[in-house]
């Protein structure tokens, strides 16, 4: 037998490419949900590996909460130019303007939950039958249960008790009209795997992943970027701190961590030693033990 170098990153990568090509082969109108975060950036690289020199057999879809870090939007636009693929933007602001959702009130208001409606509307408008997402099973307990091909009913709902068996590496993407499949090619990656892959592949990331100084406030024990999107009052004290973000979401619900990590190597050693999970930096998941399960049942990514 010939020997060859095939380490765990190669294996995870090959599995993800296989899944992406299954999506291309099985669906009429797939889409890749692009959030501007490191996981979806990783998906874009994997799609390049799966389909180049051809075009992606799907557009990228960004659900824009309107509360973005500007750095993410700049990154997105630059990346789209580089890869030459189509970008579709679904706007939460538009959903609010159309009266489909109502802005949350109070100190912890965020647009994170509102995204679901915009996402489902965008899926319906473009008749997407499959949406590729960058969720990983190590992120959260309900995610740990999810299949790689995860079927949603016409209301976008996930029914954890009625998941299809998923055997070997055979993926059943057959659905009825109106249904939709969420597809998670990096299900089996951990946060550290993603970072190691980004380092190995030399992938550029939005600058907010790296330590930088910015104005923050403390909210529920966490550092939040001071921004017009955060409902602040006199009690909130703004101060400057050297921080970075471990996940990139809506500005109103993504907490920063204090960090000196300005290089990817620093980040990797920081994460290896860190004792807080990545989801711990998302206020929205703290609400209850079943927070994620409930949101997914409702149609969330």
């Amino acid at each position: 037998m010939s020997t060859y170098n095939f380490d765990y990153l190669d294996e995870l990568e090959a599995e993800a490419i296989h899944i992406l090509r299954e999506v291309a082969g099985q669906f009429e109108k797939p889409a890749l949900l692009f959030s501007g975060g490191k996981d979806s950036i990783t998906l874009v690289r994997l799609a390049e590996k799966a389909f180049r020199p051809g075009k992606f057999p799907f557009p990228l879809v960004h659900i824009d909460t309107g509360h973005n870090f500007q750095e993410t939007i700049d990154y997105r636009d630059k990346m789209i130019k580089r890869i030459g693929e189509k970008l579709i933007v679904g706007s939460v602001q538009e959903s609010i303007d159309q009266g489909k959702v109502v802005e949350q009130k109070g100190k912890n208001a965020s647009r994170n939950a509102l995204q679901t409606v915009t996402l489902l509307d965008t899926i319906a408008k473009y008749e997407f039958d499959a949406c590729i997402g960058g969720a990983r099973r190590d992120e959260e307990k309900a995610r740990a249960k999810e299949r790689i091909f995860s079927v949603r009913d016409e209301f976008g709902q996930w029914d954890p008790k009625r998941q299809r068996p998923e055997l070997w590496n055979i993926y059943n993407g057959k659905i009825h009209k109106g249904e939709n499949v969420r597809i998670f090619p990096i299900s089996n990656w951990t946060e550290l795997d993603v970072w190691n892959y980004i380092r190995r592949e030399n992938i550029e990331l939005p600058s907010i992943y790296f330590a930088h100084e910015r104005e923050v406030i403390t909210r529920n024990g966490q550092l939040m970027a001071a921004s017009p999107f955060l409902n602040m009052d006199d009690e909130d004290v703004v101060f400057r701190k050297q921080v970075r973000f471990r996940t990139v979401g809506d500005m109103s619900c993504t907490a920063a961590v204090e960090s000196e990590a300005t290089l990817i190597d620093d980040i990797i050693s920081e994460i290896s030693e860190s004792k807080i999970s990545e989801r711990g930096a998302r206020m929205d998941d703290k609400v209850s033990e079943a927070a994620m399960e409930d949101r997914k049942k409702g149609g969330y990514f």
């Binding site: 037998m1 490419i17 249960k145 059943n172």
Partner: protein, 416 residues
């Protein structure tokens, strides 16, 4: 560093979730905020210590009922290896979820409660391990703390199990006495069982040889997607994209395309910006052939000198996974890698009573039933026998009325 995928099996309450929780806990894989959530949870052990099982029971219904319903995947790593664990449910009504978790694993851990010994579930789970061709099996005799860490109890259980292992032709079986709750022989060797001379569970998992797993030499690559940019500068570009299931393809190898039987030579192998000389099992690549042959998704490229079986009539083991029973009068879809074609189950040869392992003639197949059938397919499939090549010897059945995956098939022989 490579990855070991394993799953845990055992009756309800044998301690599967606790064992996984213990592995994660003792390898420092649980992060502070997750630990805090555990400490705040109202599910505690009788002595007030945290219940490690909650780490894997992720669904609301599971926490409420205190049982595992669906497979949960967990990840951890040590200096030696990365691990992917499938915590699978033990209840008979969730057998299909267990098969899901087991199908991608290369090692199984079966738990036996030291107080109960080998029970009906042990037999069923061991049967599934043999059916699914899992190469390595670790039998953990758990809750040793409840039998005073007795070597006699342990030995009498493994003597019983060895009979079963022989009956099921389970080759590589390793036995370890443990207490998942107290942590004996999970990560550290226990001082409370000095009569046991083997390794701790983690140590075993770290060094078990995975190289000999699924290493069929037969080169197979199902085509998933044909890359055709059709631009001016890449006008004639035609790349066959897929994942090599087994074996190795090298430049200038003679290959055959199935089912058409057309043959050609490998002109180029591409992997994004690289053009390697060979493509090996597990790799997702793009292959170019010298001749203009008609190839589309669902076809398989194979080494011309080691052809797979090609047949429309296949004898297979079937595990039924749907609430609606098998109907031998209707057509189903069969999906074998990227190939989908119509099929019928033309004959039920026998059903296995998975508690006694006896074979019975049968004319119906219900949820969680397992047995031997004949599948008749519309198009011929290019397959290998499951025991020789798991990846090319398995398929799923889809009910086209519901689109659900209703059966798992393991190919045992070509008929004719």
């Amino acid at each position: 560093m490579n990855i070991l995928k394993f799953f845990t099996a055992g009756s309800v309450d044998d301690g599967k979730s606790t064992l996984i929780g213990r592995l994660l806990y003792d390898t420092d894989s649980i992060l502070a905020d997750q630990l805090e959530a555990l400490q705040n949870s109202n599910r505690k052990n009788d002595d007030g210590t945290i219940d490690l099982a909650i780490l894997t029971d992720g669904l609301r219904a599971e926490r409420e009922q205190g049982i595992t319903i669906d497979v949960a995947y967990k990840y951890f790593q040590t200096d030696k290896r990365k691990f992917i664990i499938a915590d699978t449910p033990g209840h008979i009504q969730y057998t299909r979820n267990m098969v899901t978790g087991a199908s991608t694993a290369n090692l199984a851990i079966i738990l036996i409660d030291a107080r109960n010994g080998v029970v009906e579930q042990t037999i069923r789970h061991s049967y599934l391990v043999s059916l699914l061709g899992i190469k390595h099996l670790v039998v953990c005799i758990n809750k040793m703390d409840m039998v005073d860490y007795s070597g006699e109890v342990y030995n009498s259980i493994i003597d019983k199990y060895k009979v079963l292992a022989q009956q099921l032709k389970l080759a590589a079986v390793t036995y370890i006495p443990v207490s998942a709750l107290k942590g004996d022989n999970i990560v550290q060797n226990s001082e409370r069982m000095d009569w046991y001379e083997g390794e701790s569970l983690l140590h075993f998992l770290e060094q078990v040889d995975t190289d000999n797993l699924d290493k069929s030499q037969l080169a197979r690559m199902p085509v998933q997607w044909v890359i055709r940019p059709q631009t001016d500068e890449l006008h004639d570009y035609r790349g066959y994209a897929g994942r090599v299931l087994s074996g190795t393809f090298k430049l200038n190898d003679r290959v055959t395309v199935l089912p058409s039987g057309a043959s050609s030579t490998i002109e180029k192998i591409e992997f994004f910006d690289q053009t390697p000389d060979a493509a090996h099992a597990g790799q997702s690549v793009t292959i170019h052939l010298k001749d203009d042959v008609d190839i589309s998704r669902g076809d398989t490229i194979v080494n011309a000198s080691a052809l797979p079986q090609a047949s429309k009539l296949i004898e297979a083991d079937l595990c039924w996974m749907d609430g609606r029973a098998l109907d031998t009068s209707i057509m189903y879809l069969i999906q074998h890698n990227s190939k989908v074609t119509k099929c019928k189950i033309s004959e039920i040869l026998h059903k296995v009573d998975i508690n006694t392992l006896e074979k019975h003639p049968a004319d119906e197949f219900k949820l969680n039933d397992i047995g031997r059938v004949i599948v008749k397919t519309a198009d011929a499939l290019a397959f290998d026998l499951y025991d020789d090549n798991r990846a090319n010897g398995s398929a799923i059945l889809i009910d086209s009325r519901t689109n659900l995956t209703v059966g798992a098939l393991m190919f045992r022989a070509a008929v004719e």
